[in-house]
């Protein structure tokens, strides 16, 4: 297999890069549109079939290229490939002229960047793929061409360019401190670098734009609602995770205890998790609610990241949990976004089934037992258990996680509520339906099929959580339900008072 895997890796990146070339033929746009779901397939096979540990040296590439795979990268590759595949299927049913060619080209370029950055180990390739994804992503966001889309695109671009520059400066300083062009050498060198705090700040801010860190998140709730639905799904499910991956591979985890940065990240995560929920429940458009939900969920991941920065001993365990959580959230959020574009069938039974399928990934986010969310939430709880962490803020983490869980379900309920006002009965294009169903299936099933034991925190697969765990999962949900019920009641009172 050692020959096949690097070949597959090159194919995975080059296949979507063919799209700009194919676009030169004016009448190929239909074929390009139909082939969208095929583009991530090599990457999918690479993630599923091969073991980690291969590497590919490309000495003539940029400043010397190196692509490789480890467990963390494989997780991100899998998420990226799955999500882009289902979104691609969905897009075939969703897309209509005009500008289909332009959309397909931007899709291919963004995909190539997103896949490539999960495999790149040298700084040049990683940064190139990251930038490719960022810039081509603009085309997906402004595709509809409305005034709103252009505004969102402008904000996105301005913040993205600032983010890119912050990353560039950070990587330059880090590479110079490490005297190396490989990402793998950065953490050790960073831990000892005299300009450590500056570099860490630049990298956190730079990748934070993508990951929706509070105050760097402004583009997210603007861009996600206006982008075509399949694009929103990959933006929120996969591309947002690229920022997370950027942090994971560059910051000095496990090398040195950065308690100051850890605390800042925990606070930022808490503000993101709870603040986004507060803003999110005030939104009226389903996709805007989901965008805030993404910021909120990323906040929880940032929380773990902060703990990992502060406690080097615990970092490896937290890494697995973060990866797990990212995979879980990516698949669930992708399905939720895709559900925003489906139509309800006419029959009563069909409607009920559709609503259940729409709601399930959302409930999974909230930690419904038997879903990936339950596992992710339990793993997070175990990973951040107070007595296992050597960190001043450790005592605040459990209540914060609970607050996060409440916020999660509230946002999901708000999404369902706003969606119910918008969904119409009608016919779904078959590919659109297939893409959405595949996404839901992936979110509910694929996760369990993966043979992971998350560093002994949670025995996987946990088909049935222990009874005390069920209670741990359910009580925040009950609070959210009570809050939502209250809001509903107030709303009804107000509308009856008005009439």
């Amino acid at each position: 297999m050692m020959v096949a895997e690097p070949g597959l890796a090159v194919l995975a990146v080059c296949l979507p890069l063919l799209y700009p070339v194919m676009a030169l033929r004016a009448n190929w746009h239909r074929a390009m549109c139909f082939a969208l779901p095929l583009l991530p397939l090599p990457a999918f096979f690479l993630a599923v079939s091969s073991d980690s540990g291969w590497q590919l040296e490309l000495p003539w590439l940029l400043n010397g290229g190196l692509w490789a795979m480890d467990d963390l990268r494989r997780l991100f590759l899998l998420l990226t490939a799955v999500l882009w595949t289902v979104a691609g299927v969905y897009a075939v049913g969703y897309l209509a002229l005009p500008h289909m060619r332009r959309f397909c080209v931007c899709w291919g370029l963004t995909l190539a960047g997103n896949l490539g950055l999960t495999m790149a180990v040298d700084i040049g390739s990683f940064y190139s793929f990251f930038a490719l994804m960022t810039f081509a992503g603009y085309g997906l966001i402004v595709h509809e061409g409305t005034k709103e889309a252009h505004y969102a695109g402008r904000v996105y671009m301005a913040m993205a360019v600032l983010g890119e520059m912050s990353i560039l400066a950070g990587l330059l300083l880090a590479a110079s401190a490490a005297d190396s062009q490989l990402l793998t050498d950065l953490p050790t060198a960073l831990a000892r670098a005299p300009q450590r705090d500056l570099i860490v700040a630049l990298l956190i801010a730079g990748f934070g734009v993508k990951a929706g860190l509070p105050l760097l998140h402004f583009w997210l709730p603007l861009a996600h609602p206006v982008a075509p639905t399949p694009a929103s799904a990959v933006l929120s499910g996969a591309m947002i995770k690229a920022g997370l991956l950027g942090w994971l591979v560059t910051l000095p985890f496990g090398e040195v205890a950065l308690s100051g940065w850890g605390a800042s990240m925990v606070i930022a995560g808490a503000v993101g998790a709870i603040g986004a929920a507060i803003l999110g429940v005030l939104q009226h458009r389903p996709k805007a609610v989901l965008a805030y939900s993404s910021i909120s969920q990323m906040g929880l991941m940032v929380l773990m990241l902060g703990a990992a920065l502060a406690d080097p001993e615990r970092a490896p365990v937290l890494f697995s949990v973060i990866g797990l959580y990212a995979l879980h959230h990516g698949l669930a959020k992708g399905s939720l976004f895709l559900s925003a574009g489906v139509s309800l069938p006419a029959g009563r039974m069909g409607q009920v089934v559709t609503w259940i399928l729409i709601a399930l990934p959302g409930l999974s986010l909230a930690g419904l037992p038997f879903t990936s969310g339950a596992l992710a939430k339990l793993a997070m709880k175990a990973g951040l258990a107070e007595d296992s962490l050597d960190f001043a803020l450790a005592g605040y983490l459990p209540p914060l996680m609970t607050a996060g869980a409440i916020a999660t379900l509230l946002l999901v309920l708000r999404y369902l509520w706003t969606l119910s006002a918008k969904l119409e009965t009608g016919h779904n294009p078959p590919m659109l339906l297939a893409g959405w169903l595949a996404a839901v299936t992936a979110s509910l099933i694929a996760f369990w099929w993966m043979p992971w034991d998350v560093a002994g925190l949670v025995k996987a697969p946990v088909w049935l959580p222990a009874s005390y765990q069920v209670w741990a999962l359910v009580w925040p949900m009950l609070i959210s339900l009570a809050l939502a019920g209250l809001a509903l009641l107030v709303n009804q009172k107000r509308s009856s008072a008005r009439s």
Binding site: P20, A23, L24, P59, W60, L61, L62, N63, G64, R102, G124, S125, Y127, S128, A131, L132, F135, G139, V142, G145, H150, G153, M157, V161, L162, E164, M165, L168, A169, L172, L173, A175, S176
Partner: protein, 498 residues
């Protein structure tokens, strides 16, 4: 005399001979003129490739004559020469192809192509000059041969721009001549030499050396469009697109920058220039020019004028890289000599295509042009992203290497300049890219012409696409042997370890 001695002369003579033949041919001899032009360009490219191969393997190409006692005419090829000569040879071929299409059916083509070849011959001479005197001869020949090209249209605006151009460049030339003469009286006839001549100069002449250096940089800085000597360049963009392309990418501005590289490296030597305290102020001036010109570019509404300010900014990268006095930063500066040339010529070709095909000159007329001219617009987009420094394109390699080099010599402030310049570049290029692809066409184009199957004439269509592909390839494959980056590393290796 052996082949080794004659190859540089031969390379120079090809363009010169082409120029004379073209002047001799009648105005209507379209086919013959084009064949001579293209044939000479291809032949020269071959000669230059042979010489690149030879220089890489350590062959010394060169010839010298004594003109007057103490004044010699020297042509020779070292790694730095070949970088400039290679750029000139490649871009001459492409620009000739482009110009043939661009000037189709316009008057005075004989005059145009004659001076065009003469201009290219001058750049060849500049590249191969082996001492300051020879350099100066070709440097002035360049001024005189580009003037007719700048005023080619003969409009009042063009004539005014030409006058400004002449005033600036001839004054610069006079200052340069004075400085060279002074240096000659001080130190005799100095041929260019890796490591320079003044490493252990007599402290008594330090003051004179400093003054001469300032004069040399001032004289060369006019063509290199260093602030505050850049005023002629935005005006000169009234010239036809192929002229602007050549002026901005290789001929004039690069000749200035190349001259400064020669002075710092091969006349004074990096060590001596640095010890005399000359490089730090030069780096500040270059950094200021980078940011100043980019800021000015933001306000330009004419496409070619915006590109002109962009050139002023980008050429100063080369000077900044040299002035940082570290090997890695120098690689970043030198490699930009090629990178900027390829990227900028792409952008000017595209600007010419928009003007010739759709009659577009202003940026606000470009809405939706990507649909009408996808090939040109793809090329423009690549060129623009290259200028911004987006990876993995050529401009990124420059920024990355120069940034690393600046950090290696503890000049951390340069990172701020690089980031600031990238932001400004993004601010003035991205709106254009947005207009091209994501705005709807406003109505009829100002002056649309049709060419059948392709979006524009094939002579105009292929050159920018080709240079755009090169922009991608020299970025992505930067570590291949004979890539611009590898060649710049070779030059610096020879300079720092002579």
């Amino acid at each position: 005399m052996t082949l080794e001695q004659w190859l540089p002369v031969f390379a120079l003579m090809i363009s010169l001979a082409a120029s004379l033949v073209i002047f001799a041919l009648p105005e209507t001899g379209y086919v013959r003129r084009t064949s001579v032009n293209l044939g000479a360009a291809v032949l020269k490219l071959v000669v230059v490739i042979v010489m690149v191969w030879g220089v890489f393997h350590g062959v010394n190409y060169g010839v010298s004559f004594t003109m007057l006692p103490g004044v010699t005419f020297v042509l020779r090829a070292d790694a730095l020469s070949m970088m400039f000569a290679g750029l000139s040879a490649v871009l001459w071929l492409l620009t000739t192809i482009y110009a043939v299409g661009y000037l189709e059916d316009s008057p005075n083509r004989r005059r145009f192509f004659g001076f065009f070849s003469l201009c290219v011959a001058s750049t060849m001479g500049i590249a191969l000059a082996g001492n300051l005197f020879t350099f100066f001869l070709f440097y002035e020949m360049l001024t005189l041969s580009t003037y007719p090209l700048v005023v080619h249209r003969g409009t009042e605006k063009a004539l005014r721009a030409g006058r400004t151009y002449l005033i600036y460049t001839l004054t610069g030339g006079a200052v340069l001549l004075f400085a060279i003469a002074w240096l000659h009286s001080l130190a005799g006839d100095l041929s260019f030499r890796d490591g320079g001549h003044f490493v252990d100069a007599d402290p008594d002449i330090h003051r004179s050396l400093i003054l001469i250096f300032i004069l040399l940089v001032a004289g060369l800085g006019v063509k290199a469009a260093l602030f505050p000597l850049h005023g002629w360049l935005p005006q000169a963009m009234v010239a036809p697109a192929p002229v602007s392309a050549l002026l901005h990418a290789v001929a004039v501005v690069k000749a200035g920058a190349f001259g400064i590289v020669r002075v710092v490296y091969d006349v004074y030597g990096v060590e001596a220039s640095s010890a005399l305290g000359l490089l730090a102020p030069l780096s500040w001036l270059a950094a200021f020019t980078i940011l100043y010109a980019s800021t000015r570019a933001l306000w330009q509404v004419d496409l070619k004028r915006r590109l002109a300010f962009s050139t002023i900014s980008q050429v100063s990268y080369i000077i900044l890289g040299i002035a940082l006095a570290g090997p890695l930063a120098a690689v970043g500066g030198l490699v930009h000599l090629l990178h900027q040339g390829i990227m900028k010529i792409t952008l000017f070709f595209c600007a010419g295509n928009y003007a010739e095909t759709l009659g577009i000159h202003r940026i606000d007329e470009m809405d939706g042009a990507g649909q009408r001219m996808p090939g040109t617009s793809v090329a423009f987009t690549i060129g623009a992203f290259g200028m911004i420094g987006a990876p993995p394109l050529a401009g990124f390699i420059t920024k990355w290497v120069m940034g690393s080099g600046a950090l290696a010599v503890n000049m951390d402030w340069v990172i701020l300049v690089l980031v600031g310049s990238s932001l400004l570049n993004a601010a003035y290029f991205l709106p254009i890219v947005h207009r091209l692809w994501f705005r709807e066409v406003k109505g009829a184009w100002p002056e649309e012409r049709h060419w059948g199957r392709l979006e524009t004439s094939p002579w105009l269509f292929w050159p920018p696409l080709l240079t755009a592909v090169v922009t991608v390839v020299i970025g992505v494959l930067a570590s291949l042997p004979f890539s611009p980056l590898s060649w710049a590393e070779l030059i610096v290796l020879r300079e720092y370890a002579p």
